[in-house]
């Protein structure tokens, strides 16, 4: 695993997130569920806790957009880049953007499973950079895994716990 700079991380374990808009590829309920489960992947092994808000600015702002979408990192159409997220900091820090030109899915292999893409992006939102371990969630390449049986790989657990420690409630 690797982290951004000198262990860049949030100063609090209580973080907020907001879903700014939805993809037409899935129902709103499926998007909500995918995002919540993706955050819980990280909450399960750390003291981090996530609270959803519906207005104002959250630590992690989540949005879908195509091409140029308001930052300096335009998306590239179908395939290629699927999403990106920003390391912890104020403002755009922590935010996760998903390329609307992709076909995101809830569970189907016919498209990119939003849960998997989001779980990876939230790793960046929390301070993890890319891992060179091909089995890690933080490996840069997309690979399908069954969301129903997904377990955060050891490399990612080690990475996130190096920043925030372990979940003392389990």
């Amino acid at each position: 695993y690797s982290t951004f700079g000198e262990g860049l991380k949030w100063k609090t374990n209580e973080l907020t997130y907001r879903i700014e808009n939805y993809t037409p590829d899935m129902t709103a309920a499926e998007v909500d569920d995918s995002i919540e489960k993706a955050l819980q992947v990280w909450a399960r092994v750390t003291p981090l806790r996530f609270t959803r808000i519906y207005s104002g600015t959250a630590d992690i702002m989540i949005s879908f957009g195509a091409g140029s979408h308001g930052d300096f990192y335009p998306f590239d159409g179908p395939d290629g880049t699927l999403a990106h997220a920003f390391a912890p900091s104020a403002g755009i820090g922590g935010d996760a953007h998903f390329d609307e030109d992709e076909n995101f899915t809830f569970r189907s292999t016919n498209g990119y499973v939003l849960f998997l893409v989001a779980a990876h992006e939230f790793g960046h939102s929390l301070g993890l950079s890319h891992s060179s371990d091909p089995g890690a969630l933080m490996y840069p390449m997309y690979s399908y895994r069954d969301p129903n049986s997904f377990v955060l790989p050891k490399d990612d657990v080690n990475g996130i716990q190096s920043l925030y420690g372990s979940n003392t409630n389990v």
């Binding site: 990192y73 880049t81 997220a85 060179s132 840069p140 997309y142």
Partner: protein, 78 residues
């Protein structure tokens, strides 16, 4: 028959990929071999990251890895 544009398109794709994910910078008045050298170094860096054979030159395996769907965050610090 028509001349294939694929190699030129691949060159542009590779350069764009390395700029985006491996911090390849624009040439700034150095000799052309300096640019080549930087490109080669960045290809080698990418090959090392993905566990490919490190040659510093493009091959089909490296190109295939570059064309796979991925996250848009750079693999190296910028």
């Amino acid at each position: 028959g028509p001349i294939s544009r694929q190699p030129e398109e691949d060159d542009a794709f590779v350069e764009s990929y390395l700029k985006k994910f491996y911090n390849l910078t624009e040439q700034t008045g150095t000799a052309s071999h300096g640019r080549f050298s930087q490109l080669s170094l960045k290809i080698a860096e990418m090959q090392k990251f993905f566990g490919l054979t490190v040659t510093g030159t493009m091959d089909s395996e490296t190109l295939n890895v570059m064309k796979k769907p991925r996250c848009g965050v750079p693999d190296v610090a910028q």
